[in-house]
């Protein structure tokens, strides 16, 4: 078959930060998918009884896993707000360049605020 150029043409676009918000949506989505595996592990550990839950608590208590959970929380906040931005676009609203740039900034600010609140709740109280 003839090799045709494939969209998105990443190599020829001039960088704009709305592009970064787009790729970050995919990356945060993948991070959340990995978190789904952690959620499954946690639920199965709870269902299997106190001993396996103790092991899970040990795993979730590890610094690396805590960092992963923090990354998961950040990805959640971002994917939530940027997802709402996408749903708004699907209604045909906010698609003009200045609007898309403004909503990108709103998403970043909202993400950081929610992340700080959730991370403070989670880590100050030993959730993860």
């Amino acid at each position: 078959m003839r090799q045709r150029p494939l969209s998105p043409h990443l190599g020829i676009y001039r960088f704009a930060y709305t592009m970064a918000t787009s790729i970050a949506h995919r990356i945060s989505g993948l991070v959340l998918t990995a978190g789904f595996a952690l959620l499954t592990y946690g639920l199965v550990a709870i269902a299997s009884g106190p001993e396996s839950y103790a092991t899970a608590q040990y795993v979730f208590g590890h610094a690396v896993v805590k960092l992963i959970v923090a990354g998961w929380l950040l990805a959640f906040c971002y994917h939530l707000f940027n997802g709402l931005r996408h749903l708004n676009w699907d209604l045909g609203r906010g698609l003009e360049k200045p609007e898309a740039r403004r909503s990108a900034r709103y998403v970043v600010v909202a993400t950081l605020i929610l992340f700080v609140v959730l991370a403070a709740l989670a880590f100050a109280r030993g959730a993860a």
Partner: protein, 129 residues
């Protein structure tokens, strides 16, 4: 009615697949996940205790097992659709794509089944203490 020529159909060209359904289900699950995930994450970070008994109490009480099963099913579905797009966009050959898609879908079904089984087991066997 299809506007594809017979040759195009045989070759599997053009939009003969489930593009619209994929797009639509991704949006429906996204909308459902907004309240479900906000509820879950806020609850998870504000539980009074993370002891086994306390966390089992929380999962088993009232409508929570139902909401958790809904969360897991919707999450797995939305996640599978999202990962599918990433695989289709970035992986090179058809063989690699197909292998990755199969693995992704199997793992998603496995995670969803495992989570649902765990939630139901806690709901049915745990008695609040």
């Amino acid at each position: 009615m299809s506007l594809q020529s017979p040759l195009t159909k045989v070759l599997g060209r053009g939009s003969a697949k489930q593009g619209l359904s994929h797009w639509w289900v991704q949006r429906v699950t996204a909308i459902a996940l907004v309240p479900l995930t906000i509820w879950f994450v806020l609850s998870a970070v504000s539980l009074p205790s993370y002891e086994h008994a306390a966390i089992s109490d929380w999962i088993a009480a009232g409508w929570r097992p139902v909401l958790l099963v809904l969360l897991v099913v919707t999450l797995a579905w939305h996640s599978a659709l999202g990962v599918q797009v990433v695989i289709e966009d970035y992986l090179p050959t058809k063989a690699v794509k197909l292998t990755a898609l199969l693995a992704s879908h199997f793992l998603h079904v496995l995670a969803a089944s495992g989570s649902i089984y765990a939630v139901l087991r806690i709901a049915f066997t745990h008695t609040a203490g």
